[in-house]
Symmetry: D2
Subunit: 330 residues, 4 copies
């Protein structure tokens, strides 16, 4: 039985609490939050207790922590948890500064604790099955990858001001997915960005629409398209083209009812947003973490994967600002 404590009882912390409750071999030992009200509500809902972060970190009966607090606190919590010998499941991004991410990695490695970066989309059953088939060689050598992510609506401008911007808060998932299926590290990135949706985003110094081309040393090409708005739900697609064929995952719809009438044939909108679309993925990623830690193997994606995605997002941001392709740091 792996006993976990959750640090941060916001929306995503509750998602993880719900997952833990559904996993045999895992137990939600405690939750902590700056807001005692939020902590209490969460504890009540998931039938566990509220404790302070320090208590959780110092409790030898707690094996692992889930860091689901705001990004600015991740650095301190990761280093403290590593020192306390806890296995760490950390929400992305680990930190907005890649230098500080490197420090976290050092702390984790020094402590020898397990670390998992929460790129949940790798655990979506559809994307995961696709990647396994790519890896198994079904389509031969990967040649091009295309990823589309369009959110149903932009986040509040206040969020954007601290998020690091579209490339770092939104596209980073796609950049990790690119690494997941490309089977080779991207070495250069070219990015363009536009303000087509909301004036406030522009005023905040960010874009709401963007496209990126990544290339690898052997010449593989990946294209990513992002938008902060659709009218038809969460538009999330992945396509990999290789020497022997193509694999893709299209949108997951709200339901499978099809209608026909004088306007033609129709189907539902795509699932509303990531909480619905990746419900199964959240459960699967936590199950993977629990199983990896329980069996003493390294969870994947690890801290290095978190760093690599962030370095690409940083380079994309720079490319967009400077209007030129940028080499991705090794």
């Amino acid at each position: 039985m792996l006993r976990l404590g959750i640090l941060g009882c916001g929306r995503i912390g509750q998602v993880h609490a719900n997952s833990i409750r559904r996993i045999e071999g895992a137990e939600l030992a405690a939750v902590a939050d700056l807001s005692s009200e939020a902590a209490s509500a969460c504890a009540a809902r998931f039938k566990t207790v509220v404790r302070s972060i320090d208590d959780i970190l110092n409790d030898e009966d707690i094996d692992a922590v889930v860091i689901a607090t705001s990004t600015s606190t991740h650095f301190d919590l990761v280093t403290a948890a590593a020192r306390a010998g806890k296995a760490i499941f950390c929400e992305k991004p680990i930190d907005l500064s890649s230098e500080r991410v490197r420090s976290c990695i050092q702390a984790v490695n020094a402590a020898g604790v397990a670390f998992m970066t929460a790129f949940n989309q790798r655990f979506d059953p559809h994307f995961n099955a696709l990647q396994a088939r790519v890896r198994a060689g079904e389509i031969g050598e990967v040649e091009t990858v295309s990823i589309v992510s369009r959110d149903p609506a932009p986040p509040p401008v206040s969020y954007i001001k601290t998020s690091g911007g579209l490339f770092r808060d939104m596209m980073i998932h796609d950049l990790d997915m690119a690494r997941f299926v490309l089977d080779e590290e991207p070495v250069t990135v070219f990015a363009v960005g536009s303000n087509l949706i909301e004036a406030g985003i522009k005023e905040a110094g960010d874009v709401d629409t963007a496209a990126v081309i990544l290339t690898t040393a052997s010449g593989r090409i990946c294209q990513v398209t992002n938008s902060r708005r659709t009218t038809y739900g969460y538009d999330k697609r992945l396509e990999v083209h290789g020497s022997k064929g193509m694999l893709r995952v299209s949108n997951v719809l709200e339901n499978l009812v099809e209608q026909a009438g004088s306007n033609g044939f129709g189907q539902a909108t795509a699932q509303a947003f990531f909480l619905e679309r990746f419900e199964a993925a959240y459960l699967a990623e936590m199950r993977h973490f629990v199983e990896a830690v329980s069996s003493g193997t390294a969870p994947v994606p690890g801290a290095e994967d978190g760093l690599r995605a962030q370095l690409i997002a940083d380079a994309a941001t720079q490319s967009w600002r400077e209007g030129r392709p940028v080499e991705i740091p090794r």
Copy 2:
């Protein structure tokens, strides 16, 4: 070069004229029609000449005739054309009386001329490819067949009064298709019919909605659904389930544009009706006729196929009227 004369310059006669013009190795030698106006317009459009039916039948340079006149004239024309030694392409039904169809078959056999019944839907590229794969054993032994035909709108009641009714004028195509893919003759039929669409059809003694179950000696089952109305174009589908798998053809849409918006995902309506849906089939069936006659092989479907479909339609009509399953005559 096969030289053909067309008897009957209505809509379907013109379809065949257009096909003949597009087939290498075929020449439209003449057209005939009761209406000299219709004949002239057709001749002008397809760059051929108007002649009388007798002239066409007596002209030794004409090899084949296409009988596209009204059903009541088929019997006389078929027997005359057979006597004149012409290869015969005859619109369905050959005659509303199966006794008279048997007479036609005798006349054709006695004269030793080629005869083809115009079940054009067998030549649709999609249905044809499906049937070839069934025949090749791809799905093993056929177990069940499902056929859906829904017309966009009912025909005029005046047409229904002379057509023989839904089972004979509309479902007969599906009954032929059933024979085409079942690979075994149906032996019993059970039919139900309803009046859900237009009062005039009921007054004319016919139904506008119907369903049929056919069974074969070995236990294969075929279901047919017919309706005289849809709001989304011509609904025409075929599905064959066998011991090793399933093959099906769904609707052909007006175009392949897909849209997404707040109402979900959408596509065009199905193609409007049979002239659009079976455009390629009309050309292919005439090409088959021309090639078969030119090479001295028997065109398929032949007169016997026309008879068999009609006997099933008659039995279905009887089943509907009497409310019991009916054995199909051998």
Copy 3:
């Protein structure tokens, strides 16, 4: 908080235990099973206690029972539970004898307890959304319904010997679905059945492939196709055609990965069988039961719905045996 006891800890009892655990406002108070081993394992897995059926029925703190034992025991358990004043959730069929089902209904009505028949497929999110749209008038008046159910593989012949046969153990779900969407009671049924798959089924006096036509008083027509075998997973489809359009639900696939290669485009098989296909439906039906009982409203489908579906299944069985359409008893 509604406290429930589960009677019968087999596969389906465990499905319901798992559902209850996931519903806020419900608590699994106890489980019972003839096999103490099965009961203990179930109690351990779902963190509850084992008690005898009598104890459960006599415990005033238990509000409701889930009857998931073998069919032959349902009659006694329903009448006992009704007398004990428990709300009853009963697996289908209530009993193989419609006379005894009527007795159950009397007992339930006399006791004034809530009763729900477990036609879980009504709660499938796709079928449920379809039915709601039919009911809301989106496609006008219902004209024809088509239901396809094909199991991936036949059950053991031993099961078939006591199940009541294909029409009663398998098609009954489709017959209930027909009632759910037809919006009018079927009045006649015609059924055909064949033995195309497994000799043992024939020896047991049952069929493995079947088709049915139902008609209503106003002329609505419903066709059902059943097979005990597919090679591509659980084939479960529903289509409703009305005066203003059509609504349908096609197969739910294992995952949404599409591949393209020299054999064309491909997708996964359909979900394996009903436990996967109706996972969400099992949860939703139990949630409905809990909410209805908690709020004092009658759960639907009720005992009468169980009876009606069974009467149609009985009539279909008779129709198949006698080779003629049969009137469905009122």
Copy 4:
């Protein structure tokens, strides 16, 4: 009746001859080719006469010419035909040198003759319907465009050596399509290219896989992906995302037969290549030319459209070579 002469009787010349024969109001007056054998065969097939290019240009009864000779001859033929007062339908590219294209435009404008550049893909019924709906405002303001073109197999290296390379001979169609749907001129292009398929293409100084990002002044973004190889037919797709929704056209398959079996559900490959995929488009573009010239309106796309697409292709080539975004000349 518009009388046309075809200059060049190769594969594409014959496609146009076939189109002309099917258009009411058009007549194929003569054909010319350097190879008298090719010219004779073409004339025989399409029932017209062989004449020299000079004869055709000097014949006052010929209204228009179709230039379907090799690219290097276009410049001379366009200027000669313009001087001769013929309406001109010219295969793309007009010339590999944009300077010479500008000269052609001057000659055409000076002569006041009609000129159409053969970007046939604009006339594909699916793409055309999509563009009309974009233009009609159905999806609001265009934000992003995605175009995928993958050929089934690379052309001979000998062709590539004179074609101007992938961006000019293949992607140019997509660049024109981008202009067609963007509703605003692209101002910058960034291109990457790789050699993943055939060594000979690299030796010839070209790439076989490429991706491009175009941006417009208002911030619209278009991505194009090209590959010289697929295993599943001609992969040709278009997607436009706007403020109110999305429109797209996916692949056109060989036929609509779907199969299901133990490997899942499957459909045919995409149509083999452009001659099949754009069969209807070739007819529609010629019909447009005939109707425009006959009615005295300017055919679209015109010479300027040919020039604009080529300037983008040139800029993309330069971007790929120099590894930086390039401004597209006005």
